[in-house]
Amino acid sequence: MTDTERRIIEIVSGCLELEGADRVIAAETRLVEDLHVESVQMIEILYIIASDFRVELDANRIGGLRTIEDMCRYVEERSPRADSA
């Protein structure tokens, strides 16, 4: 698991108040279908990720961020803070 992935899982689990998130959430986990994220929760998750990694939210790309892996890729393409260690 990369640092980016670990951090994004922390953010998602924090927003959803999930316990034991590392056992529940994996790279391929889908936010809507698997975690039942609702609209305003999605706002929180994406804005906090944008803030933490200092990336802009690109409206044209948001629709494709369906899994944790999609989010990691989005962040790693844009953020100086993301790494794949």
Partner: protein, 330 residues
């Protein structure tokens, strides 16, 4: 089963798949509940079904492949002047149930689910202009060649306005119901935020949702006894019509809220325009609608007293009469 001659069926159209074409009854519980909880999840191809009882000769339920190769859902009812209905953020076809019952007997009613709503996939460009382009694409694909009578509600009205400004010859009349003023969108401000800012944005959006809900309940409570409204049914329709992909919701917010130029060049609109407001709308300031009148040539205003944000749901008789008089008087 009657197939509208100019519409064709599966295989005759280039990009539209007909899911069902039936004598379907939109008043049925199945129609009202069909979209609830489906958006953004894996598409379920379960057809709307075959029922009897609706006094309109045809219902077409379509998936249309747009030029961006995304699948957009559309429904067509009735026969007559073409009437395009564009709903607000997060709501789907059942919200227009009263208009289907009241207008589809002598209008061809087209409901297009905006990208990310119902079974429509989301698309990259969810600006009002982008959504307007997608909707025009779908209407064209379904064979709606003559100018449309376009009705938009809430941000659906912003989309309708963008459509009329972009393609004036495609619009016969334009009806904007509780159109969202640019000031309201700017106030939401969606620039980068720290955690405190994110919480504040979330609270604004939740507050907006609470306001809309409270508006609906107050509206139902205040309806005259002879107003023909079944309040319990109206709430059921409202709740079940909600169907939006959560990712698309964020996209709409990022693409349109906080954008200074969120109203299009309104002087480009050529169609006669009706600005219709529920005078007790708690979410959209009627004042911003009155201001808009001076910016749209050939526009008139009408208010429905004591109505809130959903006059087409809670004051359907009045709403349908005003709309019919405007459209049919064109």
């Amino acid at each position: 089963m009657i197939v509208p001659a100019e519409m064709g069926t599966r295989g005759e159209m280039n990009q539209a798949d007909l899911l069902s074409l039936t004598g379907a009854n939109p008043s049925s519980d199945r129609f009202i509940r069909y979209w609830s909880g489906r958006s953004g999840r894996s598409h379920q191809e379960e057809p709307l079904g075959e029922w009897d009882g609706f006094p309109v000769e045809a219902l077409g339920h379509f998936h249309v492949r747009t030029s961006s190769l995304k699948r957009i859902e559309a429904l067509v009812f009735g026969r007559g002047r073409p009437l395009l209905l564009i709903g607000g953020l997060g709501v789907t076809a059942p919200i227009w149930l009263n208009q289907l019952e009241g207008l589809a007997a002598d209008h061809r009613v087209l409901i297009i689910h905006k990208p990310g709503h119902g079974l429509s996939e989301t698309v990259d460009d969810l600006s009002f202009d982008g959504v307007a382009r997608t909707i025009l694409d779908v209407a064209t694909c379904l064979g709606f060649a003559e100018p449309l009578h376009v009705v938009g509600a809430c941000i659906g009205a912003n989309v309708a306005l963008a459509l009329a400004a972009m393609e004036p010859t495609r619009v016969a009349t334009l009806t904007l119901v509780n159109v969202v003023g640019s000031e309201s969108l700017e106030e939401l401000g969606t620039e980068s935020k720290d955690r405190h800012g994110v919480k504040a944005l979330m609270e604004s959006l939740r507050e907006l949702d609470r306001t809309l809900c409270a508006d609906l309940y107050r509206d139902i409570r205040d309806v005259p006894r002879d107003g023909g409204l079944d309040g319990k049914r109206a709430v059921e329709i409202y709740e079940n019509s909600k169907s939006i992909d959560p990712l698309a919701y964020v996209q709409y917010v990022v693409a349109n809220a906080g954008v200074r130029s969120s109203l299009p060049a309104t002087d480009e609109v050529r169609a006669r325009c009706l600005l219709l407001v529920g005078e007790k709308d708690s979410a959209v300031d009627a004042e911003s609608t009155w201001k808009l009148r001076s910016r749209i040539p050939n526009s008139i205003c009408a208010g429905i007293p004591n109505a809130g944000h959903y006059p087409y749901l809670t004051r359907a008789r009045e709403f349908n009469k005003i709309l019919r008089d405007f459209v049919d008087g064109a």
